[in-house]
Symmetry: C2
Subunit: 348 residues, 2 copies
């Protein structure tokens, strides 16, 4: 199962030498892979955004546990289960908002509890399974999301929720790829997504690679785009979804959701159920990472603001469920999400 011609990009790969990550800080100028052999390096790579977005972080952290187990079991075949606690902590502390990180670590830890002898083979099998499940979830969500789109139209996406953000074809971009292949999407507008420019650097790159027509806009132009009737859907990913359907996603998403509702544009969130945190009742409880001020004050290494200026740099925002038309997961679609509908979907 795949979308012919639209599944060539990968950003996370396991190899005999360790975990290979495509360095997303350098795209689209340079396609450079870095190989990691311990949890410390993997945690640092997540923090520094060599790899980014909830599903990709989850997969990466799972492989990080494999690397940690290799090292700790070599260190002491007797005490490795104690020693590896530190690696779990390192990985868990790398970024706070994406719940897939904790979900993947929990899953690896549960498996680890029952392991006797050398744990590497079974942990690696579990990490690969998490990875493969994400690939399959992407494809399934792609079909479910594409079904929601009516006549051929242009859509707007924010940040990057594509192959670079997941194990497979992407969440939002998985839907967009599937819908484009089916003739339901004819053009993609991409928010450049300040401050990290994921839209300009990553989403535009993915779509250009796949020959899907893409036009970049500054985020300030999104409302004008909607006012002119140029897009029918906003399609985004998520880093954590609360039990009531409130959605945390890259800063700027909430503004799009408010504008989409005002202009009668539909708003779709695409994320695997590993992104849904049923332990959190509503979005206001989702921890929102604040990243260094310098990401806003500087650009491409050059200070743009005056030296004395300060910045506020929340990395995510929360969109209330009442602004969301559909949440698409691999377990199904929840339209106009509520706590009851979300609970029902999670059971399915």
């Amino acid at each position: 199962m795949s979308i012919q011609g639209y599944d060539n990009i990968r950003a996370v790969e396991w190899s005999d030498n360790g975990l290979k990550l495509l360095d997303q800080r350098l795209l689209p100028r340079l396609e450079q892979w870095i190989t990691f052999s311990d949890a410390l390096g993997v945690a640092q790579a997540i923090r520094d955004m060599v790899v980014r977005r909830a599903p990709a972080i989850g997969i990466t952290a799972a492989y990080g546990v494999v690397l940690a187990a290799q090292q700790r079991y070599e260190e002491s075949s007797e005490h490795w289960k104690n020693l590896i606690e530190e690696d779990f902590k390192l990985l868990a502390d790398s970024r706070p908002t994406a719940v897939n990180l904790f979900w993947a670590l929990d899953r690896m830890k549960t498996l680890l509890g029952g392991v006797d002898g050398n744990p590497v083979a079974s942990l690696l099998a579990e990490a690969k399974l998490i990875h493969e499940e994400d690939v399959a979830a992407n494809l399934h969500m792609g079909r479910l999301g594409a079904e929601l789109i009516g006549d051929s139209c242009a859509v707007l996406t924010h940040c990057n929720a594509g192959a670079l953000a997941t194990g497979g074809v992407g969440t939002a971009l998985g839907v967009i790829r599937t819908a484009y292949a089916a003739g339901k999407v004819n053009h993609v507008f991409a928010d450049e997504t300040r401050p990290w420019l994921q839209g300009a650097r990553l989403t535009a790159w993915e779509l250009v690679e796949d020959n899907i027509p893409v036009t970049l806009i500054a985020e300030g132009a999104a409302a004008a785009l909607m006012r002119q009737g140029k897009v029918k859907w906003v399609i985004v990913g998520s880093d954590r979804i609360a039990a009531n359907g409130d959605v945390a996603n890259k800063i700027g998403t909430y503004s799009l959701a408010v504008n989409a509702r005002y202009h009668g544009v539909k708003f779709m969130v695409v994320a695997p159920t590993s992104t849904v945190d049923m332990a959190i009742a509503c979005g206001d409880q989702i921890p929102i990472e604040e990243r260094p001020q310098d990401e806003v004050l500087s650009l491409a290494g050059t200070r743009i603001a005056p030296d004395a200026a300060r910045a506020w740099n929340p990395s995510f925002d929360v969109t209330s469920a009442d602004l969301v038309d559909a949440i698409v997961t691999e377990k199904g679609v929840v339209e106009a999400p509520t706590a009851a509908k979300m609970a029902e979907m999670m059971k399915g």
Copy 2:
């Protein structure tokens, strides 16, 4: 009349050597002035955004006419009124959206029609009067706008509508300076304002120079800021206001207005009546300049998007009058603007 301590910045100055403009492309890294001696150079400076924003462009164009008159009268004291037509055209073609440009050129042309002999002295007097009127209008609007603000609060501004955008203390920043001096504004959040980064480079610089506390945000963070109740007013300038109160301003303004209304945040537009175009019934008729794609595709001279990517780069957007709580001009305040209220204000 001035706001003690908050009126030190100037960007447009007449000197014996010609028209001096502070090069706003280089701020805040470098404070460099360029001296212009002909209309061609002035028109190019407006197009290339050495100088920018409606009121400053109007003043600059008026001085540009003085330079043209000097040159043309020297060329031919007989035919200069014919020859200068070309300079008027050059200046008028420099940028399409800011109506103050055409307003200032019309005013200079009207005066010129009745001139006998060497026109330079009377044209220079008129240009200086336009400049002085703008300085006075800024101060008056500052007081009128500040009166609208209740208890001490934080406000959000977009782009740069300050001293760098006008002849005096600014339109939006004139209100903010006055309100800060009066203890009614305690903090300013500034949108960085992609793609040209006027907020990061110019507004932050002006406020830092005046010791007014300023925090820079990526535009995507504005909605989260409002959701958290951190700002009570959005205060912006304008490049053209239609007869019904629709407001053209820097791209991104409309998104803020939609979000402000959604969050119960007040929305104030500050502009002199030279920005009001009573010949245009509503905002949809305002010509919106589209600037080069490269402003979005590149950053500080470095390409950020992949080579094959394209961009849409409208420089302005239109905010409907029904999203505006108050338009502040030097002739008075129009709350909840309508065509009838705008016409009444323009008479006053």
